[in-house]
């Protein structure tokens, strides 16, 4: 396990010194390197702009041979995030067949952010929202914005 510690602390250091755009990364507990907290500001020019989203990232004991898990702690209106309290994300890099031990957390976080810029309605977790995204973009944007206003306001 000590080898994983070395790798994880190195990655954590990298992520805090040069984080992906719009992200702040902290450890909720100083003694547990396997649980990270991420605060993500909604990318500009998206319905999520200015929203502040909290995410959790947990690294399994087998990390980096098994993929980390990322969840939205803040509710979000998005085809690839479950519209519930668990906030599961469908991200292809996290699937066992795509995860490589040399893959990095930073890459994962960048992919999460990219998902807000470019939702992927063809591989949805919420079919209803994916449908809306495809067929009625205005309605989708409105719903996404109202979710931001309700759940992801800065300072909340």
């Amino acid at each position: 396990m000590s080898s994983a510690q070395k790798r994880i602390s190195k990655e954590f250091q990298e992520c805090t010194t040069s984080p992906p755009p719009g992200m702040t990364i902290t450890l909720p507990s100083e003694t547990d390197l396997h649980k990270w907290s991420i605060q993500l500001t909604g990318p500009p020019n998206t319905p999520y702009a200015n929203g502040v989203f909290n995410l959790t990232l947990s690294l399994p004991t087998e990390y980096p041979f098994k993929a980390p898990a990322v969840n939205f702690a803040t509710r979000i209106w998005h085809p690839n995030v479950t519209n519930d309290a668990t906030g599961n994300i469908c991200l292809s890099v996290l699937k066992p067949e795509n995860w490589k031990p040399a893959s990095r957390v930073k890459g994962v976080l960048e992919a999460v952010r990219q998902l807000l810029v470019e939702p992927n309605p063809d591989d949805p977790l919420e079919a209803r929202i994916a449908d809306e995204f495809r067929t009625d973009r205005a309605e989708f944007d409105k719903n996404a914005r109202s979710y931001v206003a309700q759940y992801a306001k800065a300072g909340k």
């Binding site: 994983a4 041979f65 066992p96 031990p101």
Partner: protein, 533 residues
């Protein structure tokens, strides 16, 4: 000969495996183990008549070949060698290419000749340094997976040049092989690098037990990738069977194959032997039976009342000829009719008499008739299944006594084998009979159905007669006269079965049957011969 699975295995291999035109010496040697009766004298009537059946080459049999794990391995190695020679590429690369092309060698060679760079790239064999991979200590090296950089750290790089420490490579492979069951498509651990792990690298990195598991998994993909190969579905069997019957032909032929382990199964759907019923019919029938499961409870009852005196009668053998202990009334367990009539030309226990349409005018009456019709066939189907079990129980009891008798009378093991043969024949024939009823349920009447029903009746009578012999007390079983009778009856049962299957298979192949259902399964796809994505 102490488990029942063993004697079933003898039956099937004795019966049919020898027809299989295998030319593999190793396999023939394996078959011999099962061929217990080969050295029996030829004047034995049962054996002789069976052998003559065999020579005919009956039409319901398909040709097939059994592969043991080592044969599966050798087949892969042969193909790898060929590609290695023809395309002049390293064996480990040839193996990766073949797996990528799902072992379609011709297509691989064709595509490769066409555009080698594109094919190599797609198979995960992009540009490589020519140096063979090895474990190395490189000064100043830091592993990007574990972030270790200590002096003397053993590292390894695949041909793509992506280098990590040996421990990380090993942990990665263990994760893939043990946890994820992956083998043919393990990629380089680098994000975005699709280079496939080759066998040379694996040999360097893997511990022997992990390597064994890896080979096993590779064998699995080999068999699963080839449409002409299937795993034997028997729980502990590692053999594969090759058979050329295509999915689209399954409405014309019922491809029963015999694994060397003794398991008889359908190559089309991997279920237990279901001749003469085609796969799609079997699928529909099993679904129907599951949907109407309450009717199944009816047959599972082991007791019925004597139709004459109403005393309770328990069925404890497979035979349908019941004699009431109390009033000595003899009747048929299936139709509850008089047994004495079953031996005559009037016997029609197997046929469902369609009532004339006049009384089935309204929908309710129609649905009652259709339920009655279903129950008629279902009960006979289920009864043979149950009887096969009971016959087996009966045999096992008898077998124990035979062992005692053997010691008491000095009869040799080989001399009591006729009981074993009879029991096996009963099992196989009841299996066939069982499926004739599902077959008949969906069969539309035409000028051929009567022949089929006669064949069914003849086989059924022969089977019931043989089954009845088993219920004789042990002292009678040892009698020389009964022994000869039993061997004759065994041979006769087998003959009737061959006649029935021959007839049904011939008509099926020539499209002479009409069924009330469509036998073209929707599942029959184009097959998966293209390269993996």
């Amino acid at each position: 000969m102490d488990s029942d699975d063993d004697f079933i295995s003898n039956m099937s291999s004795e019966d049919d495996v020898m027809q299989d035109d295998t030319d593999n010496d190793d396999l023939s040697a394996a078959d011999e183990e099962f061929d217990v009766f080969d050295d029996e004298p030829d004047d034995n009537p049962a054996v002789t008549s069976m052998k003559s059946d065999k020579k005919k080459g009956v039409s319901f049999d398909v040709s097939f070949r059994v592969y043991r794990p080592i044969d599966v391995q050798n087949q892969q190695d042969e193909m790898i060698d060929e590609v290695n020679m023809i395309l002049e590429m390293k064996k480990e690369d040839a193996a990766i290419m073949l797996r990528h092309f799902r072992w379609n060698k011709e297509r691989l060679i064709e595509d490769y000749m066409d555009n080698p760079t594109k094919v190599l790239e797609a198979a995960g064999l992009g540009p490589s340094s020519s140096r063979p991979p090895e474990l190395e200590v490189i000064p100043g090296f830091m592993c990007d997976i574990c972030c270790e950089d200590e002096d003397g750290l053993l590292s390894f790089a695949m041909k793509c040049g992506h280098r990590y420490c040996a421990d990380c490579y090993r942990r990665y492979l263990t994760q893939k092989i043990r946890e994820e069951g992956e083998a043919a498509r393990i990629q380089c651990p680098t994000d975005g690098c699709q280079r496939i792990m080759d066998s040379r690298s694996l040999d360097i990195l893997l511990t022997s037990d992990l390597n064994e598991r890896y080979r096993e998994l590779l064998n699995r993909t080999f068999v699963e990738d080839k449409d002409i190969l299937k795993w034997c579905p028997a729980p502990d069997c590692e053999n594969a069977v090759e058979c050329g019957i295509k999915k689209k032909d399954l409405d014309k032929v019922v491809p029963t194959v015999d694994c060397a382990c003794g398991h008889r199964f359908c190559f089309g759907c991997s279920l237990n032997d279901h001749q003469p019923a085609p796969c799609e019919l079997v699928k529909k029938w099993l679904k129907k039976c599951a949907d109407d499961s309450e009717t199944a409870n009816w047959i599972s009852a082991n007791t019925k009342e004597c139709p004459k005196c109403n005393s309770t009668i328990e069925k404890n053998g497979g035979c349908n000829h019941m004699t009431c202990r109390k009033c000595k009334h003899e009747f048929c367990w299936m139709c509850m009719g008089l047994w004495s009539e079953h031996g005559t030309a009037w016997y029609n226990c197997n046929r469902f008499e369609e009532k004339s349409g006049s009384e089935a005018r309204d929908a309710q009456a129609k649905s009652r008739v259709s339920l009655e019709r279903y129950l008629h066939y279902y009960n006979r189907y289920a009864n043979h299944e149950q009887s096969a079990r009971l016959d087996k129980d009966m045999y096992q009891k008898t077998e124990k006594k035979m062992v005692q008798l053997q010691t008491a009378s000095g009869m040799s093991w080989i001399e009591v084998q006729y009981l074993n043969m009879a029991s096996q024949a009963l099992q196989t024939c009841r299996q066939t009979l069982k499926w004739t009823y599902a077959f008949a349920f969906y069969l539309a009447r035409n000028n051929l159905t009567e022949i089929f029903e006669d064949n069914q009746k003849d086989l059924e009578m022969a089977v019931e007669a043989l089954s009845e012999m088993f219920e004789k007390p042990i002292t009678e079983l040892a009698d020389a006269k009964l022994k000869v009778d039993m061997m004759d009856k065994t041979a006769y049962c087998k003959k009737r079965r061959v006649i029935l299957l021959d007839d049904t298979a011939d008509n099926l192949a020539n499209g002479r049957w009409t069924f009330s259902i469509d036998l073209k399964g929707l599942t029959a796809g184009a097959g998966s011969t293209g390269p993996r994505r």
